[in-house]
Symmetry: C2
Subunit: 136 residues, 2 copies
């Protein structure tokens, strides 16, 4: 993840201990934490970090395209650091676990012109839902 920190510095980010810790917490595969979970894990390393700072930093990471916001349920948004490899999500209806998945085919091609209502379609999000092995 230090490559992320390098990219951020290159983009003019002032590097603070808070931003470093938030970026470190978001490292890994199949990571989909809520803002409060990020705050809790960040506070393990930096006890005085505030919720506002976590929200600010997550928002900046999202607008820089380094992190993706995922809203799979109606509850808290989740933050997915796997932003540089396009992917979709598989969500367990039982426990809420989320996996990144790579479907074959191009879902955009499945939307015929007469179904586009004059829109310029730019992006497709696919959410697969079902029960995971433990909840099955």
């Amino acid at each position: 993840m230090s490559d992320l920190l390098h990219r951020l510095r290159g983009r003019g980010w002032r590097m603070t201990s808070q931003r470093r810790v938030v970026a470190e917490v978001l490292d890994g595969d199949h990571v989909h934490l809520t803002a409060d979970e990020v705050h809790a894990r960040a506070a393990d390393r930096l006890p005085e970090i505030s919720r506002a700072t976590v929200y600010n930093t997550l928002g900046e990471l999202v607008s820089l395209g380094e992190v993706i916001e995922v809203a799979t349920d109606g509850r808290a948004k989740r933050y997915d650091p796997n932003a540089h490899r396009p992917h979709q999500h598989l969500v367990c209806s039982g426990c809420g676990t989320i996996r990144d998945v790579h479907p074959t085919g191009d879902p955009l091609a499945d939307l015929p012109p007469d179904q586009r209502f004059g829109f310029t379609v730019a992006q497709v999000e696919v959410t697969y839902r079902g029960l995971c092995a433990s909840c099955g």
Copy 2:
């Protein structure tokens, strides 16, 4: 929509003026109102209807499978009465307008077994995003 009211009566619903008004407000194609919008429109016809009743009624309609909950942004859930014809959604990133769309193909078939991580996949939601003709 009176067929909906008949179905509900058949399922043992006690028919109240509040429930009738909520069901009527949710009539039509490409309808995707938030709970507060449903409440506002219901209150035009029945000024004393409470928010709690609107939430209760929407929740019941959802669990009866008559209405679908849609969470296309991180904000308020939207309620889609078009529950008996499977469809996906096309959302304008500018103004938030939502259209029901019917893509070709079966997105479930695009998720290979080695991408299912032991899940029993039951359902797929697809959200197309872009700019509508007015926002383009």
